[in-house]
């Protein structure tokens, strides 16, 4: 029978029994149960402790709005805290644990806070915890932090997988209750692309909880039949277990789909977050019931009337043995008859609109009786409470809409100004009669299909009832006779609201923040209306004038993992590999992340004890023999057109108009404010054909900048840009024996002699017996240097050919660390110097800024002020005691000057150990740098508390005349 409180009937499968555990104790449930229904079936009524006062709490609702029954599902790193037991689809073997208590659920010592209630009203923490001052950080804050919150997060990473996706449709129907099913049928029949999303694992909405007949079938059977018919249509996508969380900019709906238990696997996503772009949306999300406010209204066993109905009708579970009913509308008697018909004992039906009112309740661990104002005591262990229903209008107002108040149903409905393309049908719009819901759904579906260009067929009406029970206006029962809860989850009472009013927090937004009502995980779904009605009574303004707080997505809590999808850990961004990646890895390279790229940092060899051994060796190989380095990651932009020369001349500060075909030039690209944006080389491959290179990091930003120049600043120029970075594998060949190596690779009749191919030449040629290639004679290291490019697929083979052909020359692969040491030795600026604060003058490149032409940055060049760095100049540094290390980032001060910003003269931008010289060297941006050459300063690393005396020198440590690279 799976539970002492199980009734007959219901939509559960008695042939399919499931075992589950709650707080370590084993129970049995049925397929089709939720955790909540299964707990009630087993007589478990105490499921948690309230947030502030640690009062015993039971299951309050049967759905998404649940404020009390928050459990931790699962254990260890897979634990999911704050899970609504009413939304957990029961599966075999699940383990759940109650939250927010010390020791056992039945005896929580922290319930002493309930006795301190008079001191813990709304906003108490604004008036306390102030003395002694030192206690805040050491005592109060840690205590509050421990006491705050409900569930506990696992401290290990979430083991679940998540995914994301995009969907498009003509019509998105939110909610598969009667209105939603009718809308989907109508639009689907017209041939429109329809997505029908429902939060539950079984379609039908309230049809599953209430007893209706539609066209001769039970409501539940009718819903199942609609679902089946929809499933057969190829243009309809059914999404059960999918919650529409919010409506976002551009009308995009966020839908969170939970994977069905039978489809779950540890190596597959548990949830998928969809962004749905729908031409039309029908919001058929139904309504949520509200309770009433009376003293002692929070005991386990006190539930929403609609929930009692759902537990009895859908899950065949009696929430108690003797049920009393309290409602402020006509529906109480009908409910009593329905429950009695199911076998429950009805203790009383109390009309909240009249007298005598409910004065209080008894029963700490669970309801035992309620007391009326005339002294009568009614014994009952369950109380079904109804204060009317509030439409679930959230999605209609997420995009800054304002709800409208309707006196006739005492509820807010979506306002007149709905988001474009969104229509509301059924209870979500304030219609509570079943036939009205069905008709509205059909009409909304037809209208949406028509708007999308389809011709919906006519649909017959439905034969069903249209019963409604409009509630009376809100009133608090027996005010002042005892604590009456308004927000169950955050433990906010009617007294707190009166307090907020007295203390001046009267607007509904202030009320919310001062009392914290509506701020818990349930976002006040059951409590907000009573709260603002109480405030409206205090202020004397009506409910419409008081208004609601702003509705924001998400409609229900959502895992951060679902919003991230796969974009976490290694999957955070794509990984880019160069054409030489596998070849490098095979030769012992370790890789460093450079933006999205993986670049070889060095090639460790056997016997080397650390990276310095490798890097020093690689640097010396380049200085004395020949090294090869993968430089494929640098950006390449193909520039062609009649006005290509003028374009290139416009974007660089130095002259390019007279660059001959077959020559390459170093270029400095400035921002409009005269600061250097990027540097690179630009080769003229033909009269109207240039190839520009950029730094690795700036490939995309420079391309975007060039396109902006092309399209917006100089649309008069006939020029086209094609990003070409990935086309070419490019290898730097540097060192005294570079030419010797290349001679063995280039195909005849190419003349690679110094005369035939001088410094800064470029050419298109073939290598290794016919592979097309491009050769550039440029040097970043200061040695005799070239860069050889072949189409990307041939990169690995070329690297292999180079190491084979150059074995006797001592050819050595080198990585970006050695590349960086070499350029620092040479005194080339790079990323650390091009930091967005430096103009050509600061870098010692003022002569590059051309005089006779217009270019981007010309007007402000030399006039841009970067605070305190106007006179900065690039210099070199040596530690006076050569054995001492330098620290990049250290600041430069005069000897004896105090370590303050006012005395700061500049900072060290790049540092390396120079194997060529045998000690550390550095580059720095130093105020009046040129004049200080030869002097001594202090390099201060304030973070490490270290100081080194340094000598200011020229930034070019190796071959300052440039003879090696020109030879």
């Amino acid at each position: 029978m799976s539970g002492a409180f199980r009734l007959s009937g219901g939509l559960v499968d008695r042939d399919h029994r499931l075992r589950f555990a709650f707080n370590g104790r084993q129970y049995e449930g049925l397929a089709g149960d939720t955790l909540a229904s299964a707990l009630l079936a087993n007589g478990v009524r105490l499921v948690g402790r309230s947030f502030k006062y640690h009062r015993p709490r039971g299951i309050f609702s049967a759905g998404s709005e649940e404020p009390n029954a928050l459990v931790t599902l699962g254990e260890g790193r897979a634990a999911l805290p704050n899970t609504r037991a009413t939304m957990v689809e029961l599966t075999d073997g699940i383990a759940a644990f109650s939250q927010n208590h010390l020791g056992p659920l039945g005896f929580d010592p922290l319930a002493v806070t309930d006795l301190l209630a008079p001191f813990l009203g709304a906003g108490f923490y604004y008036k306390t915890f102030m003395w002694p001052k030192a206690f805040w950080e050491r005592v109060y804050e840690p205590l509050i932090r421990k006491a705050a919150g409900l569930g506990r997060l696992p401290t290990d990473p979430d083991p679940r997988l998540y995914d994301k996706g995009h969907l498009h449709c003509d019509l998105l129907v939110v909610g598969a209750g009667p209105a939603g099913l009718a809308a989907a049928r109508a639009a689907g029949a017209a041939g429109a692309r329809v997505i029908l999303a429902d939060e539950g694992f079984r379609p039908g909405g309230r049809l599953l909880a209430e007893r209706h007949e539609i066209d001769g079938m039970s409501g539940a059977d009718w819903a199942a039949a609609q679902w089946q018919a929809l499933a057969a249509l190829p243009n309809v996508r059914l999404m059960p277990r999918a919650t529409a969380l919010g409506l976002y900019d551009h009308g995009i709906a966020g839908v969170l789909e939970r994977i069905a238990p039978e489809a779950r696997a540890v190596d597959k996503p548990a949830e998928i977050f969809w962004r749905v772009r729908a031409r039309r949306i029908v919001l058929a999300a139904g309504a949520t019931e509200r309770p009433l406010v009376f003293p002692g209204n929070d005991r386990p066993g006190i539930m929403l009337a609609g929930a009692v109905q759902a537990f009895v009708n859908r899950w065949a579970v009696a929430p108690g043995r003797r049920v009393a009913i309290l409602a402020n509308h006509d529906g109480g008697e009908a409910l009593a008859a329905e429950l009695a018909g199911a076998g429950l004992d009805i203790a009383a039906v109390i009309d909240a609109r009249g007298d005598p009112q409910v004065l209080g309740t008894k029963g700490r661990g669970g309801l035992r009786s309620l007391t009326l104002a005339d002294g009568r005591r009614i014994a009952c262990d369950a109380l079904a409470v109804s204060g009317g229903w509030s439409p679930n209008l959230h999605l209609a107002v997420h995009r800054d809409g304002k709800p409208a108040w309707r006196d006739d149903i005492q509820a807010f409905v979506p306002g007149a100004a709905l988001p474009d393309g969104l229509a509301v049908a059924g209870a979500a719009g304030g219609s509570f009669g079943l036939r009205d819901c069905l008709d509205e759904g059909t009409r909304a579906g037809q209208a949406a299909a028509t708007a999308c260009g389809f011709r919906p067929p006519g649909a017959p009406g439905f034969t069903t009832d249209n019963t409604q029970h409009p509630p009376a206006p809100f009133r608090e029962l027996s005010p002042g006779q005892g604590r009456a809860w308004v927000d169950l989850q955050n433990d906010v009472t009617a007294k707190d609201i009166r307090l907020a009013h007295r203390e001046g927090f009267r607007s509904v937004e202030h009320l919310k923040r001062y009392t914290t009502l509506g701020m818990a995980t349930d976002q006040g779904k059951t409590g907000n209306l009573a709260a603002l009605a109480l405030m409206a009574q205090q202020t004397g303004r009506g409910i419409p004038e008081t208004g609601t707080t702003r509705y924001r997505p998400p409609y229900v809590p959502v895992s951060l993992g679902a919003l991230a999808g796969r974009e976490g850990g290694r999957g955070f961004k794509p990984v880019r590999r160069t054409p030489l990646h596998d070849w490098s890895a095979a030769r012992g390279a370790s890789f460093v992340e450079s933006g999205l790229w993986l670049r070889a940092e060095w090639f460790a060899q056997d016997g080397e004890s650390g990276w310095r051994d490798s890097v020093d060796r690689e640097v010396m190989a380049v200085r004395t023999a020949v090294g090869i380095c993968d430089v494929s990651t640098l950006g390449k932009i193909d520039i062609q057109g009649r006005d290509a020369a003028a374009f290139v001349d416009f974007v660089y500060c130095n002259g390019f108009a007279k660059l001959p075909v077959g020559r390459v030039r170093y270029g400095l690209m400035l921002r409009e404010d005269g600061i250097v944006m990027d540097d690179g080389t630009c080769a003229r491959l033909g009269e109207h054909h240039y190839l520009m290179t950029t730094t690795t990091a700036n490939a995309a930003p420079v391309f975007q900048h060039l396109e902006f120049v092309r399209q917006c600043l100089r649309p008069d120029l006939d020029v086209h840009l094609v990003p070409d970075t990935d086309s070419w594998a490019q290898i730097a060949v540097a060192g005294p024996k570079a030419r010797a190596l290349l001679t063995r690779l280039v195909d005849a009749p190419f003349d690679i002699s110094n005369a035939g191919f001088p410094f800064m030449a470029c050419a298109e040629l073939t290598v290794c017996g016919g592979t097309k290639a491009r050769l550039f004679r440029i040097s970043f290291s200061g040695e005799l240097g070239y860069e050889l490019a072949v189409p990307a697929p041939f990169g690995s083979a070329l690297a292999e050919a180079m190491t084979g052909a150059g074995a006797d020359l001592g050819v050595t692969p080198y990585g970006v660390e050695a590349l960086n040491v070499l350029r620092i030795e040479k005194g080339h600026v790079s990323g650390p110097e091009l930091n967005g604060q430096t103009a050509p003058a600061h870098l010692g490149l003022r002569r590059m800024a051309a005089q006779g032409k217009d270019y981007i940055g010309r007007v402000l060049a030399g006039r841009t002020r970067v605070d305190g760095a106007e006179t900065a100049r690039l210099v070199g540094l040596l530690p006076c005691d050569r054995a001492q290390p330098l620290t990049a980032g250290a600041h430069l001060l005069e000897p004896g000057a105090p370590r303050t910003q006012a005395h700061d003269l500049g900072w060290i931008s790049s540092v390396a150990f120079s194997p060529s010289l045998g000690h550390d060297i550095g580059l720095a941006l130093l105020n009046d740098g040129a004049a200080r050459i030869g002097t001594r300063l202090r390099a201060v690393d304030a973070m490490a508390g270290a100081e080194v005396e340094v000598e200011i020198v020229s930034p070019h440590f190796i071959d300052p005349e440039g003879a090696r690279q020109r030879g």
Partner: protein, 179 residues
């Protein structure tokens, strides 16, 4: 010693993956040329393209060239010619760039192809917005990509070579997840 020829390496070394009736595989490249089309006179451009290759497809569409290659038109100023080699002849309305090494191609075919794509591709994949022969540019998992619907259930994905191995892996994960 320029006597040992260079052999090309593929952009994707992972093996093709087939689950159910859906297949994800690298497509070897037989040549890809980027065509830069002038925005000037559309009629003149169409005539030049017709003379050089065959009909110029509409934006977002594709067409076969006379030599059997496939000409994709992802945008107003760009064409992608996939297939046989191109003999660039001087023209005023367009110029071509050999980008055979630039583009890696991935083929995704079968009844589950769309289910895989919708986890990554933002634009509409529906039959009206993206019919057979359609071409679009967007991104797959943050990788800029050109998508070509070769047939009802067959898609060709073109991505820059440096991203190809990572993206193939990501799509393979999706194929495992959707089946």
């Amino acid at each position: 010693m320029a006597d040992h020829r260079l052999a090309p390496s593929p952009a994707i070394t992972a093996a093709p993956l087939e689950i159910g009736e859906t297949r994800l595989a690298p497509r070897p490249s037989g040549g890809v040329h980027m065509l830069v089309l002038s925005a000037g006179d559309p009629a003149a451009l169409a005539a030049e393209i017709e003379a050089a290759f065959g009909p110029l497809p509409a934006i977002g569409r594709s067409a076969r060239t006379r030599s059997g290659a496939m000409l994709l038109r992802p945008s107003r100023e760009r064409g992608l010619c996939i297939g046989s080699g191109l003999a660039p002849s001087p023209a005023t309305g367009f110029h071509s760039l050999d980008q055979t090494g630039f583009w890696a191609m991935i083929s995704l075919q079968g009844s589950g192809a769309r289910a895989v794509l919708e986890r990554h591709w933002r634009p509409d994949l529906g039959d009206v917005a993206f019919p057979r022969g359609a071409v679009a540019q967007s991104s797959l998992s943050g990788v800029s990509a050109t998508l070509f619907r070769e047939a009802a259930d067959s898609y060709l994905i073109l991505v820059p070579r440096s991203y190809a191995a990572w993206l193939f892996d990501d799509l393979a994960t999706t194929l495992h997840w959707v089946r």
